[in-house]
Amino acid sequence: MDFALSEEQELFRTAIRKYMNNINGTEAARAVIDGKLDVVTRFASGMAELGVTAIPVSEESDGLGLGALDLVPVFEETGRVLLPGSQLETLALAVPLLESYGTPAQKAARLPNVATGGSTMSVAWYEKGTSLFPNSFCCVAAKTENGYALTGTKTLVPVIGEPDVFITGAQTAEGKSLFLVKASDLASVRMLSVIDETQRLAEVTFDAAPGELLGEPGNAADMMKHGLLHFNAALCSSMVGGMDELVKMTAEYSKIRVQFNQPIGRFQAIKHGIVNMKLDLETARSLSYYAAWAVESDAVDKISAVHSARSFISKAYIKAAGDSIQIHGGIGFTEELDVQLFLKRARYYENYFGSVHDSRKETAHSLGWHLGSATRDAVPAS
C-alpha cells in the first residue's frame, strides 16, 4: 500500500510552486479582472516551458504520456493561485477526448501543438434553456461534401486565452455527436458577464461552420462521460489547491487578528471553524488523489471514485470559502482580500458540467445500488 504522490510528482509540484511564486499569489487572476488578458498567454507559455502541457499528451504525439496523477500537483498549484487560463479544459478534457477518440490525423494535427503550448482548446457544450447538464443539443450538424456544417448557438463557452479549437456537440442523423470547430470559423462571439471575473465566457454562434467529426457519430453522451471523468479528477485537484490556500490564510489570519485582547483563533467558534475546514480539506485531498489514481489505473470503481470526489469537493470548497469570509470578518467582505476570489471560483465550479446531485446519482448507479446486488469498493481487497 502506498497512498501518496511519488517523489517525482512531489518534485514537480515544487517546481511549479516555485514558478507560481513569481506570480505573487492571485496577481495573474486579478490582472484578468482588470482586463489585462495578456497575462493569460504569458503564463500559458510559462506552463508549457515547465512541461505541463506535455504531461497528458501521449509520446506518439510528442508528449510525455503521463497520467492523471501527474496532473494532480499541477492543478493543485494552479488552483492555489487561481491561475487564469484554459489548462483544465485543454489538458484534462480536450486532450483525453482526442487521445481516446481522435483519428491519427486529428491527433497529429493538434496534439503536438498542444504539448508544446502552441495551442489551447476549449469546449462549447451548453445551450440556452436546455438541460443543466450539458448533453442536450439543439445545434445541428448537416452533412456536407467534406464533412459537416454546424449551425446553432452555444453559451457558457470558456474563451480565455483564445483557444483555437472548440470541441462542441450537435445533432446528426445518427444522434448527438461531437465535433471540432476552429475558433476562426465562429460566426459571432458575444462576451458574457460572469460572477467569477477571472473567467471569460462567451455565447458563440455557428453559421454553417465547418465541423470535424470526433469519434463515432451518435456517441456524444458516452464520449462526454468519458472525457468528464478525466476533467472532474483534475478539477478536484484544482479545488483542493484552493481549499488548501483558504485553510492556510484563514489559520494565519486568526493568529494575528486580535479582538477582546485575544488572537481570534483562541475562540473556539473560530478555532473549530478552521478545524472543520481542515477536516474537509484532508478528505477532499484523499478523494481527489484516489479519483486521479482510479482514472489513471482505469480502476473498476473509477466512476464512483471521481464522482464521490467531485460531489464532496464542490460543496466543501464553497463552504470553506464562505466560512473563511466569515472568520475574516469585515475585511473578508472586501475586494482587497483574496477570499472572495476563491468563493467566486468555488461557485463557478459548483455546477460546471454537472451538479452535486448529478455526481451522487452517478456514484449510486456506478456502485450498482439500483441493480439489486451490491458491488464493493475495489479498495481494499477484502
Partner: protein, 397 residues
C-alpha cells in the same frame, strides 16, 4: 391570538400606499429601479427622495410630532417597513440621521444641538454617518484607538474609522473617540457630532466583494470639534451608544420583510426557469429545499411577530428579540446560496446575461456581509448565550 390589523392601521397603510403611488420616482413601481451610478447623481437622487419623503410627512414617522414626526405607533412603524419593502423603495440616504442620531439628540442632546441638527436631518439637508468601527476594533468596539485631545479649548481628533456607511455622502458623523485612557474598557469614550466638511477628514471608499461601495474608511488627521459637539457627557460615550441602539424600536422589520420578498423571487425563479421544458420547482431537491427555507423564513418572521407582541404588551422588547438579527442574517445567506445552486452552471452568469435576474447574483455576494455587519454571528451567539441563557461570560471579555 390574531394577525389582523386595526381599522386605523389599515387606514394608515392605505394612506401610505396612496402617497407612494403618487410620489415614488417615475417608473419605479413599474420596475425601473436603477439608481444613478456616479456619486454625484446618486447622492442627488437619494437626497431628492428624502426631501420628497419629508414633504409628504413620511421621513420620520416615529418622531414626536413637535419635531416633525407623526408619533407613529409601533404597528404603524412595522406597516411602514412592510410597505417600503413591498415597493422596494430607494434607500433612505439619511437612515442614520433619522433612525439613530436624531432620536438620540431628542433624548439627550442640548437645546443647541437640537436646533442645529434635527430639522436638517429630517429634510435630508444634512446627511449623517456613524463612525464606530476601526481596523483594530470590529467585534470589540471598546478597543477603539481614535483619540480626541483637548487643546486650546478645541478637541483635536486623530485616528482611522472603517465601515463608515454613507461617509462619502455624509455631512456629519456620529463619532466614537477615546478621550481618556481608563482601566475599565467602557470608560473614557466620548461621542462627537463631527463636521465631515473639514480638512482633517478624508474618506476613501471600500470596494465590497459584490462590487458595491457602501462603506468607507475615514482618516482623521487633526480633525477639530468643540465642546458643543459632545453628545451627553465627556467620557460617557458608551451609554450614549447604548441609548442610540435602543432607538431602533421596530428592530429588524425591514430585513424580515426583505428576506421574505427575496425568497418569493427565488420561488418565482424556480417556477419560471425551465430545464428541458420542466420548471425547476419540479425537481424534488428544489422543492424540498425551498419548502425547508419557507418553513424557517416563516419561523423567523413569526418569531419577530412574537417579539413585537411582547413589545406591544410590555412597552419594551423581550430578551428573545436579540435572536431576530442572527436568524434573519443567516437565512439570507442560505436563501441566496440555494438560489445559486439550483441555477446550474448558468448561475455563474450575472447582470443582463443572468438566467433569471442578475441582481440575485449580486445579492448572493452581498449576503456574506449580513452575518458580519452589525455584530458578527459569533458575537451575537455569545450575547444570546450570556444574556438570555445566563451562560458564563467568555474568557477574555
Amino acid at each position: 391570538m390574531n394577525f389582523t390589523f386595526t381599522e386605523n392601521e389599515e387606514t394608515f397603510r392605505g394612506e401610505l400606499r396612496g402617497w407612494l403611488e403618487m410620489n415614488l420616482p417615475k417608473g419605479w413601481l413599474q420596475g425601473d429601479r436603477k439608481l444613478p451610478e456616479d456619486n454625484e447623481h446618486y447622492s442627488k437622487f437619494l437626497r431628492d427622495w428624502q426631501r420628497t419623503l419629508y414633504e409628504g410627512g413620511w421621513a420620520a414617522i416615529s418622531w414626536p410630532k413637535e419635531y416633525g414626526g407623526r408619533d407613529a405607533t409601533l404597528m404603524e412603524e412595522i406597516i411602514y417597513h412592510q410597505e417600503m419593502v413591498r415597493v422596494q423603495s430607494p434607500p433612505l440616504v439619511n437612515y442614520i440621521g433619522i433612525h439613530m442620531v436624531a432620536p438620540t439628540l431628542i433624548q439627550m442632546g442640548t437645546d443647541e444641538q437640537k436646533d442645529k441638527y434635527i430639522e436638517k436631518i429630517l429634510t435630508g439637508e444634512q446627511v449623517w454617518s456613524q463612525g464606530y468601527s476601526e481596523p483594530g476594533a470590529g467585534s470589540d468596539l471598546t478597543a477603539l484607538q481614535t483619540t480626541a485631545v483637548k487643546k486650546d479649548g478645541k478637541w483635536i481628533i486623530n485616528g482611522q474609522k472603517v465601515w463608515t456607511s454613507f461617509a462619502h455622502l455624509a455631512d456629519r458623523c456620529f463619532l466614537l473617540t477615546k478621550t481618556s485612557q481608563s482601566e475599565k474598557k467602557h470608560e473614557g469614550i466620548t461621542v462627537f457630532l463631527l463636521d465631515m466638511d473639514q480638512e482633517g477628514v478624508e474618506t476613501r471608499p471600500i470596494v465590497q466583494m459584490d462590487g458595491h461601495q457602501e462603506f468607507n474608511e475615514v482618516y482623521l488627521t487633526d480633525a477639530i470639534a468643540t465642546d458643543a459637539d459632545i453628545v451627553g457627557e465627556e467620557g460617557k460615550g458608551w451609554s450614549v451608544l447604548i441609548a442610540l441602539m435602543l432607538h431602533e424600536r421596530s428592530g429588524i422589520a425591514a430585513q424580515v420583510f426583505t428576506l421574505e420578498q427575496q425568497f418569493d423571487s427565488v420561488i418565482e425563479m424556480a417556477k419560471t426557469i425551465r430545464v428541458n421544458g420542466t420548471p425547476l420547482i419540479e425537481d424534488p431537491f428544489v422543492e424540498d429545499g425551498l419548502a425547508d427555507l419557507h418553513a424557517r423564513i416563516n419561523g423567523a418572521k413569526l418569531n419577530y411577530y412574537r417579539n413585537i407582541t411582547h413589545t406591544l404588551k410590555n412597552g419594551k422588547p423581550g430578551a428573545e428579540s436579540s435572536l431576530d438579527k442572527l436568524l434573519v442574517s443567516e437565512l439570507t445567506k442560505e436563501v441566496f446560496d440555494f438560489a445559486m445552486t439550483i441555477q446550474g452552471h448558468a448561475g455563474v452568469l450575472t447582470h443582463d446575461d443572468a438566467l433569471f435576474d442578475g441582481e440575485m447574483q449580486r445579492q448572493y455576494l452581498a449576503s456574506f456581509g449580513a452575518t458580519i455587519g452589525g455584530g458578527t454571528s459569533e458575537v451575537q451567539r455569545n450575547t444570546i448565550g450570556e444574556r438570555i441563557l445566563g451562560l458564563p461570560k467568555d474568557l477574555g471579555r
